[in-house]
């Protein structure tokens, strides 16, 4: 059987890759995709802890469903913002949208 640590290391790898994408990508849609990767890694962690805990409850699955709802609303609002930004600037590169940067 598979030890708990394997799932946790796998989720940590996916989370770190997503973190790299958020920090390093230029395109806003690519940044949103990396955030989705990070949220998926969190869900893998939650489900792994649920499966390996001796407690018989279903709290881990409930948390995962809440994370699904949060990530769906996050991506909907984020992509609406991307479309709005694109209309105004004809540009969705995070480096060129620097009105709030000093």
């Amino acid at each position: 059987m598979i030890p708990l640590a394997w799932y946790l290391i796998f989720a940590a790898a996916v989370f770190s890759i997503g973190l790299y994408g958020v920090l390093a990508r230029k395109n806003i849609v690519a940044i949103l995709m990396s955030i989705e990767l990070m949220l998926t890694a969190i869900n893998i962690n939650l489900i792994a802890f649920w499966r390996y805990s001796l407690d018989q409850g279903l709290a881990g699955q409930v948390f995962t469903i809440i994370v699904f709802a949060v990530s769906a609303s996050e991506v909907a609002v984020g992509l609406a913002l991307v479309i709005s930004i694109y209309r105004r600037f004809k540009e969705i590169s995070a480096e060129d949208i620097n009105l709030l940067k000093w």
């Binding site: 059987m1 790898a13 770190s16 890759i17 390093a24 990767l37 995962t64 480096e95």
Partner: protein, 168 residues
């Protein structure tokens, strides 16, 4: 080596590779396709962890809704992406060092902290997990408050995204 370990290794390697392609590919449409592969790998991981309902929801919500929404946005904003290929910023080595440090730190922690080498307990075969989950989500002694909060959040996101994307 038994069969589930082989499946786990295959799924983990596939998902990690797909995630790497998502964050490095300059072509956004193929990055989105690889994102679907990575999300499907996560759904397979949920099946391995015997959370089948979560796996189905992962496929329906992430691949059926979120990935399609992302592909739509890529198509709508295509002109900007074609003008300059979407690579990494100049600071990408710092980002790579930070994420590698996070990954190695977490791995070290997981391998040294006690209790992470345990194996999964046997699940209660009598338990109907989907109906138990549904009752837990709406029972006042369970998680009805987070559940209602999530629905209010979804409604707010729905209205908010319509308002933000409205063409004036």
């Amino acid at each position: 080596m038994n069969f589930s370990i082989l499946i786990f290794l295959f799924v983990a390697v596939l998902t990690t590779f797909a995630a790497l392609v998502v964050v490095t590919n300059k072509n956004l449409v193929s990055a989105a396709m690889w994102l679907i592969v990575a999300l499907f790998g996560a759904a397979l991981t949920f099946v391995l962890l015997e959370a089948t309902y979560i796996a189905v929801v992962q496929v329906v919500v992430y691949i059926g809704a979120i990935a399609v929404l992302i592909v739509f946005t890529i198509m709508l904003t295509r002109r900007s992406a074609e003008k300059e290929p979407s690579g990494a910023t100049k600071q990408w080595p710092i980002a790579a060092v930070l994420s590698l440090a996070l990954f190695s730190g977490l791995t070290y922690f997981y391998l040294t902290v006690p209790g992470t080498d345990r194996l999964a307990p046997v699940l209660d075969k009598e338990l109907n997990m989907v109906s138990a989950l549904g009752q837990l989500l709406v029972s006042p002694s369970g998680y009805v408050l987070p559940f209602e909060l999530a629905s209010v959040l979804l409604l707010a996101a729905l209205i908010g995204s319509i308002v933000v994307a409205w063409r004036k």
